[in-house]
């Protein structure tokens, strides 16, 4: 594989999009583009990471991100080892740093880390020799999700600069929202975050986005609607009165879709609560790119693993 555009990638870690320049983000997307073709071959493998070890450390549960990274690593011919929080030494009281140092002692090149604590990958990046790839940290960042979202937008709408993107839902507790805001702004898109004030902190505007409390007000003027998953475990903390009421105000149904631009792109990071964030009609309709996001996730994660492995020590 050769990366396009004679760009020299220097980052050993991918802890967040906050650290990346617009050029670096574009380079990941371009690299992902070149990896996309691999998945269409009958033998879906390239030797880019042959002999390398990728440790998937999922301190917090995940299904699709974990499988996506696992598959991405295997398509690059890397060996993978998997840690999940349940039944691990984490459950026995070992600190994150000790766990990672112990696994590193077995000879690991790249750590893919999902962690419930915001900033955990940042803490580790300064303290281990291998590469750290953030697969979601607390309520902070989920850079590969945002990269695959932006990749999908670029694929469907041609470019990112100049677009207006609405991100709808629990912005306050969403790492997907933060990474998307950062990445989209760096590439020149406008972002409006939508939700009630209990889910949308006013200080989020410091990240360069606008705030709206009315989905209906913004629908007509956006090119992309990214509907975040509502986490039912937040229910009862008085962030919103009921799922029914939330869905009534902030759910995307056929009637609301009808008031959007004809080619509006409907996204969701999954897993969907059907009938809450999106009705099935919208989720499975022609404007939806939800499955395409999942497919692209693989190419984006291959690109990220490949790039961090190429950076010098």
């Amino acid at each position: 594989m050769t990366a396009p555009r004679h760009f020299v990638w220097k980052r050993k870690h991918l802890v967040g999009l906050d650290e990346l320049t617009a050029g670096e983000i574009a380079h990941v997307l371009d690299t992902a583009e070149s990896f996309r073709e691999v998945s269409t071959r009958s033998i879906k493998k390239v030797p880019a990471l042959r002999g390398k070890v990728v440790a998937l450390l999922f301190f917090e549960d995940s299904t699709r991100t974990r499988m996506s990274f696992e598959l991405a690593a295997s398509r690059l011919s890397a060996d993978t080892v998997l840690l999940t929080a349940k039944g691990s030494s984490v459950a026995k009281g070992e600190t994150t740093l000790d766990t990672v140092r112990n696994i590193e002692a077995m000879g690991v090149d790249i750590f893919v880390i999902r962690h419930g604590q915001s900033g955990a990958p940042h803490m580790l990046a300064g303290k281990v020799r291998g590469s750290i790839v953030n697969a979601g940290d607390g309520q902070h960042e989920h850079p590969t999700q945002a990269l695959l979202d932006i990749f999908t937008v670029r694929q469907r709408l041609g470019a990112v600069a100049g677009l207006k993107v609405a991100i709808v839902g629990d912005i306050a507790h969403s790492r997907v929202a933060r990474s998307n805001i950062i990445g989209l702004r760096k590439l020149g898109a406008e972002v409006v975050v939508v939700g009630p004030p209990t889910l949308v902190p006013s200080a989020i505007t410091a990240m360069g986005c606008e705030i709206s409390h009315s989905l209906d007000d913004v629908l007509g003027e956006v090119d992309v609607v990214n509907m975040l998953r509502i986490q039912f475990e937040r229910f009862g903390s008085n962030l919103f009165p009921s799922v029914r009421e939330y869905s009534r105000i902030y759910g995307l149904n056929a009637e609301r879709l009808g008031r959007c631009r004809k080619d509006v792109l409907v996204m969701h990071p999954g897993p969907i609560n059907r009938g809450v964030e999106l009705t099935s009609e919208v989720a499975d309709g022609p404007n939806s790119c939800i499955l395409q996001q999942v497919t692209n996730g693989l190419a984006v994660r291959m690109a990220v693993l490949y790039l961090v492995s190429q950076a010098g020590p």
């Binding site: 906050d18 600190t95 994150t96 740093l97 962690h115 604590q117 915001s118 900033g119 955990a120 940042h122 803490m123 940290d137 607390g138 309520q139 902070h140 960042e141 306050a172 507790h173 790492r175 933060r178 902190p201 200080a203 989020i204 410091a206 990240m207």
Partner: protein
């Protein structure tokens, strides 16, 4: 013959209004003379170009003993104190077990006596086990030597309990020191605002501090208690205090070095050394706290020296405990925040580190008046030095000022007429 003669220093004693280049003589643990002293002394300190003042007092120190001796002990806290120019520190009661009865207070006093460095004055809990439910045995603790009461680490959440505590402590004439924070609004990790939002961490907004302060001031109007606000961190609290003082309420307050020098922006790299409670606030809050100290709304400077082990501070930001240490470098930090910025002159700074905190805890300390206890600090106001966290006398290293260049350093610390530290 005098024991110690400190010659030719700029003697600053805000308690008596003195600011003159002269001498201080000490004999038998007391100040015997302030003025041109002739005659011999067993020890002569040339204080030319130095400041000579009453021993500095820090009314907010976590000594961690009993219970967390791996982080700090009364001995190491007292050693850090004298190295920082402090002759008196108040030991906070959130130990394990907490200082909530007579025996625990006696234990601290006995340990401090064995150590024989700084005076260590214990603060007892307001409520049993710091649970905020039942009043601790305040009268018995006072008899044992407790100088104040506090559930520091937490505010007293129940309004009814706080009201009773104020009534009861008012009878005893002992101040209550409150950590103002509404617990319902306090379950975050750093100041609410753009930094917390970007970091994806729950915030602790300024309202939680102001709500409890406002409530306590309303209760204070109906009691005869003495009330002291610990570590004031927000502009809103400074405003409330200014109004309360103008209205004649018996309220005192303190500010910490970190709330005078650091903002929440320091947290952005997820380094838990900057995790502290109350949290580092905005630049506007820092300015308001400085202004509050300057105009006397905030009477005292206090470090809230809170040692933590490296193990605890190597955790993720959201899992690490609150607290930072600054006892040994506090004087230089206050000078940087308040003198270098022309908010205060040296007499103003010294008042807030001697007589004012002594009055806040109702002790006859913090003065160089003849007859007073011979607690004296000699300061070189021009000495430039670098903070080295690895070299502090404290047992812990969680110091956010590591590597800072400061101006102003204690060069001699005298407690009870004995030199306990000299540099």
């Amino acid at each position: 013959m005098n024991d110690i003669l400190i010659q030719n220093g700029r003697v600053i004693d805000p308690a008596s209004g003195l600011d003159a280049v002269t001498d201080v003589a000490i004999a038998e643990g007391r100040i015997v003379e302030v003025g041109k002293v002739s005659g011999q002394a067993r020890e002569v300190i040339d204080a030319t170009g130095r400041i000579v003042c009453a021993g500095l007092i820090d009314i907010h120190v976590h000594c961690r003993e009993p219970g967390h001796e791996e982080e700090e002990t009364i001995a190491t806290a007292a050693a850090a104190a004298v190295a920082g120019g402090f002759t008196t520190i108040c030991a906070m009661p959130n130990t394990h077990p907490p200082l909530d009865d007579e025996a625990a207070i006696q234990y601290v006093i006995e340990r401090a006596k064995d150590v024989r460095l700084a005076r260590v004055l214990p603060v007892g809990c307001i409520t049993k086990a710091r649970e905020g439910k039942e009043l601790a045995e305040m009268a018995m603790m006072r008899s044992a030597g407790a100088v104040a009461f506090s559930d520091d680490g937490d505010g007293v959440a129940s309004t009814a309990v706080m009201y009773r505590a104020l009534q009861y402590a008012g009878m005893l004439g002992v101040p209550l020191l409150q950590h103002c924070q509404d617990p319902d609004l306090g379950r975050g990790h750093l100041n609410s605002g753009a930094v917390a939002v970007r970091m994806g961490l729950a915030g602790i907004g300024p309202a939680g501090e102001q709500i409890m302060l406002r409530r306590d001031l309303a209760l204070l109007e109906r009691t005869q208690a003495r009330y002291h606000v610990q570590h004031v961190s927000t502009a809103g609290s400074v405003r409330l205090l200014r109004e309360a003082k103008a209205g004649g309420l018996a309220v005192t307050a303190e500010a910490t070095p970190h709330h005078l020098l650091l903002t929440d922006a320091a947290c952005a790299g997820y380094d838990p050394v900057y995790k502290v409670n109350p949290p580092l606030r905005s630049a506007d809050d820092v300015e308001a706290v400085r202004a509050g100290v300057a105009d006397g709304t905030i009477d005292c400077l206090a470090s809230d020296h809170a040692p933590h082990s490296a193990e605890e501070k190597e955790l993720e930001f959201g899992l690490a405990p609150f607290g930072m240490i600054s006892l040994e470098c506090a004087l230089g930090l206050y000078a940087k925040a308040l003198i270098d910025t022309k908010r205060l002159d040296w007499p103003g700074l010294i008042a807030r580190m001697t007589v004012n905190p002594a009055r806040a805890i109702g002790r006859d300390l913090g003065t160089l008046a003849p007859g007073a206890v011979a607690d004296v600090t000699v300061i070189d106001p021009k000495r430039r030095w670098t903070v080295r966290a690895a070299k502090v006398a404290s047992k812990s290293r969680n110091c956010p000022y590591d590597g800072w260049r400061l101006k102003g350093k204690p060069v001699a610390t005298i407690v009870d007429g004995q030199i306990k530290y000299a540099a």
